[in-house]
Amino acid sequence: MGHYIELSAFDLFLAVGLIVIASVISVSLRLGLTRSLVVAASRCMLQLGAIGIVLKKIFQINSPILVMGWLAIMLVMAAREAVRRSKSKYRGINMDALSTMTFTSLVVGLLVTQVVIKVRPWYDPQYVIPIFGMIFGNSLNGICLCLDRFLEYLRSRKQEVELRLCFGATRQEAVIEGARQAVRTGMIPIINNMTVAGIVSLPGMMTGQIVAGASPVQAVAYQIVIMFMIAASNALGAMLLATLAARRLISNYGIELNEK
């Protein structure tokens, strides 16, 4: 790895000045955001600070159990956030979100870390934690979008689903169109991101690696892997969740939304 400029506490203090600029704008335009802004900035500092300390410890101890444990915590938090963000909920949504994210991140994460990057030792936190973190964060997004779209479909097209059932459709056949739309919706963000990658935006991970001194070509290589990984996890996650949700929401008798 190449050289990078280390940040001191004083440098961070200077960065607070940037939040002050945002606050001044909020106050002068009466956006009513000042409070939220300050709270958000503080939370951001505290949370990231805490993570910094925890990650430092995990990196030092370098034990597979600890790494797995940390990933499990991230996974549960991500699943909870996915449920919290989606507009409508149903009985069993927590379980569905958790199992979807577990399966998706295991499949995609293991493929990327063990087959593509070949991390050694297999649990090396320097690679495993950020990569799984990116899978969690992105499939969370995909899952939310997919879930909202799917429940919206079931609600607005209840009669169409019933009509299909009347003519002998299986449960899957009755909602396949809705699932299709939902998975499509879940995949749009990553498709957009891949389309503009490098032109409109330099993706975060790549930027980070360049700042940390990696060669731009290597940074790009990693970023491509990451983008494809996100595409795979979004597709897999959205599909799986739509399937699980359909199993819960469509009974033999038709749609039962069981909304909370």
């Binding site: 019933e162 009509l163 009347c166 003519f167 056949e173 033999n252």
Partner: protein, 228 residues
């Protein structure tokens, strides 16, 4: 209709047996009290009754689209327990009261059931579709016409054509003639009658037009949870 095919299937599938059916609606009213339905083709049965008496619930219960307690569903000597409901519905097909459509064209709406696993190789015939559409006077529409502009009456006629093209051994129709002018209603009713004879099939119609009841093989009245 292909006569050889229909007679073959007709001999395969004998009578419809469904019951006893018990149904209590979500408001706690006991709408159906141990009703048993049993018919052999060809039959055209008309069910009438005051509104709110549970006619729609009865058809939905037969088709398995509500949580009615139905002890047994049988076609000939083949029983269809709950896990075989999709297969049952492909043979005992309900035309819903509101005549819903799927998004898409008239062709999409007539052909979609044939894509299901339970269609078992039945094929959509455009020729038959055009003949039926002409009979119900929807032939001014192209098959590629989108359905979202259709009126209520047009949707009902489309729903009827969908059912007749699908040609199941048992057809349940929930107010198939609503929203139609008398002359068209007569045409549609005759189509249902013809279908019951030619296939031969069991057709059960919920109707509020009493005048049609006279031409039916059986007329039942649903009142106080039982059929009279």
């Amino acid at each position: 209709m292909d006569e050889t095919q229909s007679s073959k299937e007709g001999s395969e599938v004998k009578g419809l047996y469904c019951g006893p059916i018990d149904f209590t609606d979500p408001m706690g009213r006991r709408l159906l009290k141990g009703i048993t339905i049993s018919f052999t083709p060809p039959t055209l049965c008309v069910i009438t009754g005051p509104s709110g008496s549970g006619k729609t619930s009865l058809l939905k219960a037969i088709s398995g689209l509500n949580k009615a307690r139905v002890s047994e569903r049988r076609l000939g000597n083949i029983a269809y327990p709950d896990k075989r409901l999709p297969e049952w519905r492909s043979k005992v097909t309900l035309l819903l009261q509101d005549a819903p459509c799927i998004e898409g064209t008239i062709r999409d709406n007539l052909a979609f059931p044939f894509s299901f696993k339970n269609a078992l190789g039945k094929e959509f015939s455009e020729k038959k579709a055009l003949v039926l559409l002409k009979r119900v006077r929807l032939d001014h529409f192209d098959l590629d016409h989108p359905v979202n502009g259709l009126s209520g009456g047009e949707r009902h006629r489309l729903s009827l054509v969908r059912g007749l093209l699908w040609a199941p051994p048992v057809l349940l129709a929930d107010e198939p003639l609503s929203g139609l002018e008398p002359e068209l209603a007569q045409v549609c009713y005759e189509l249902l009658y013809e279908f019951s004879r030619k296939r031969p099939a069991v057709v059960i119609c919920v109707l509020h037009q009493e005048r049609f009841a006279r031409q039916a093989d059986t007329v039942l009245r649903l009142k106080d949870g039982t059929l009279h």
